[in-house]
């Protein structure tokens, strides 16, 4: 285990779900910094459609937990303008599938202001949004779009796979002076894990975590696939020693941790729920071959959604969604 993971484990922890961890992160940051406020649709009394903001409204009231009209472009733009003028908005974009509705504000304002103005604008805005299939929410509420954001210059993208990283990344995002998107996979909100209780626990954006050490093959997995890959690794432990890395940040990407692992194992699986073509998988593969080409003993394998939308019918949904079984099969193909 890396030094960093060890030190995380040594700190005092409590068991939380991913949902509770994110809410706790927001609660602590709201308490710590008066300039922080939450803004989004039905995040107040209603508590958020996926119940992430929950009871924060009871403690912080309508001034700090702001329910907006159903105006993704309007409130994304307002959050951008607010961030440039002295406050620290935390936006909830109900489903990541609605990113397109607000994309102009994201790509032409939020992402570009600091640069276009020669560094003379701060952009401390956080955008939390939910991704992923698995609950029968059908094509317009199940997508995984983080590759778009990670691809777009001027935006940071993080995607927690555990309760601890959900808390640490959310807090780091809120404290950052850059626009940070936090991609929450909706299928792991109930996943439990040990979360440091220290109110200053954050996970630096751009640091991967080695979640399990192994010798034979490296699995770089994100979001829901972190837990499923760990389970797969455990199940295969008698035959194959699997190292599992959660990059946690998609941009910037901690390529060093991944490359170090591939140099040791010589084999790489990249598992991410986004569509397979032109995306997150491709980026990791490209960078690994740049830096560890001669350490590779087998072709790199990708596990993801096979360029379809997420269908409604549960058996069809399971057909296209990547899983721990797909990770196992990929490992078996190269070991």
């Amino acid at each position: 285990m890396t030094a960093q993971v060890e030190s995380e484990l040594e700190t005092e922890t409590e068991e939380l779900t991913v949902r509770e961890a994110i809410r706790q992160a927001m609660r602590e940051e709201l308490e710590r910094d008066e300039d922080v406020f939450l803004i989004g649709e039905d995040i107040g009394v209603f508590g958020g459609v996926l119940e992430v903001t929950g009871d924060l409204y009871e403690d912080f009231g309508p001034e700090r937990i702001k329910d907006t009209p159903i105006s993704e472009a309007g409130f994304m733009g307002a959050a951008t303008g607010a961030a440039a003028t002295g406050t620290r908005p935390v936006v909830e974009l109900m489903f990541s599938d609605f990113t397109g509705v607000a994309m102009e504000q994201i790509m032409n304002q939020m992402a570009k202001m600091r640069y276009m103005f020669g560094g003379k604008a701060e952009m401390p805005v956080t955008v939390r949004t939910t991704e992923g299939g698995g609950m029968g929410a059908a094509s317009q509420h199940s997508g995984t779009v983080h590759s778009w954001i990670a691809h777009f210059p001027g935006l940071k993208a993080v995607a927690p796979g555990t309760a601890a990283s959900a808390k640490g990344l959310t807090k780091a995002a809120i404290r950052s002076n850059d626009p940070v998107f936090v991609f929450e996979n909706k299928m792991i909100y109930e996943q439990r894990g040990a979360v440091p209780t220290d109110e200053d626990f954050t996970i630096p954006i751009g640091e991967a975590a080695v979640e399990r050490e192994g010798e034979d093959v490296t699995v770089v997995a994100t979001q829901r696939l972190v837990g499923e890959s760990l389970e797969t690794a455990e199940n295969m432990a008698d035959d194959t020693s699997v190292e599992v890395i959660d990059p946690r940040s998609l941009y910037p990407l901690d390529i060093d941790t991944i490359v170090e692992s591939v140099k040791k194992t010589g084999r790489l699986i990249v598992a991410d729920e986004s569509p397979l073509s032109y995306g997150t998988h491709a980026e990791i593969v490209a960078r690994v071959q740049e830096e560890a080409f001669f350490s590779l003993d087998a072709p790199i394998q990708r596990v993801g959604t096979p360029d379809t939308h997420i269908p409604f019918s549960p058996p069809l949904e399971q057909e296209v969604l990547p899983s721990g079984d797909d990770v196992r099969e990929a490992i078996q193909r190269v070991t």
Binding site: A78, A82, T85, E104, N108, M116, G119, E290
Partner: protein, 347 residues
Amino acid sequence: MADFDLESQDGRLEALRRMVTIRAFDEEAGDRFADGEIPGFVHLYIGEEAVGVGTCAALKPDDYIASTHRGHGHCIAKGLDPKYMMAELYGKADGYCNGKGGSMHIADVDAGMLGANGIVGAGPPMATGAALSIDYQDRDQIAVGFLGDGAVAQGQVHEAINIAATWDLPAVFVIENNHYGEGTPVENQHNLDNLSDTAQAYDIPGLTIDGMDITAVAEAVSEARDRARAGDGPTIVEAETYRYRGHYEGDEEPYRDDAEIERWQERDPIESFRDRLIDRGELTVEEFDELQADIEADIDAAVEYAQDAPAPDAHEAYEDMFAEMPPEIERFASAARTDGGRPGGDR
């Protein structure tokens, strides 16, 4: 209250000075663009000076404005220095944005100027956001969002005004109705005669005023400002105005004739205000000519400054993407810092 206003003689002279400065700046910018010295797109504000200056006459220095693609006039009205503005148009290191914004993104956030904007309709959400910060932190400021008549058709404009109205934010939306969006006349873009009638949809005040008359603009915006500052929410002010030049420099203007332009020029905002000040005995013709000559000399000096200013260093292209440079970009930046160019090889 404002750093200049139309209540005092000094303020009126300052307003006149700013209007003349805008015109001189933009005429020069047009010429330098024609000479090929200024790259990209330039959208000139000539003819519309009373709107920007009249609006800013109602503002305090720390109030915010969010501008449009036609932003030079807003900058000067807000007090930005033509020297660094011209350097920005020239893409020089000394420009307001280190040369990385240019005409369409010129900004000075510290001066409350939240940027010209290359996206039609993007100013109002920015103003709503600034008003949200002001409201959230209980600050004694307001935010003005400028937009064109064409921008009124944008969805994000509606969303931004609706949020500001619903939350009683201290914002003012100033529609600069110059009667065209590029080459399309306003009546072919909207079903309303008065664009300020959109205010009814938000149950906020909306008024249409003569945008060629700086006094009318300043009065309307002052009232809107007082309402905003009192916590009563935004106002829509539609200023009827006209651009004398093409949509951008190089526009051949097949959509209108000279007679139409001349009709508007008869009510020129600078000449009419100048004449009023002369009638009131606040200014003589000689003083005006002197003022104009001084300003033209300043603008010539600004051009010379911009021409001589250094270009940005190559590594500047890699700066300011984030608060701190990520490793993905650092590799290019460090190569540019050492040998002034891109690194060889792959990434």
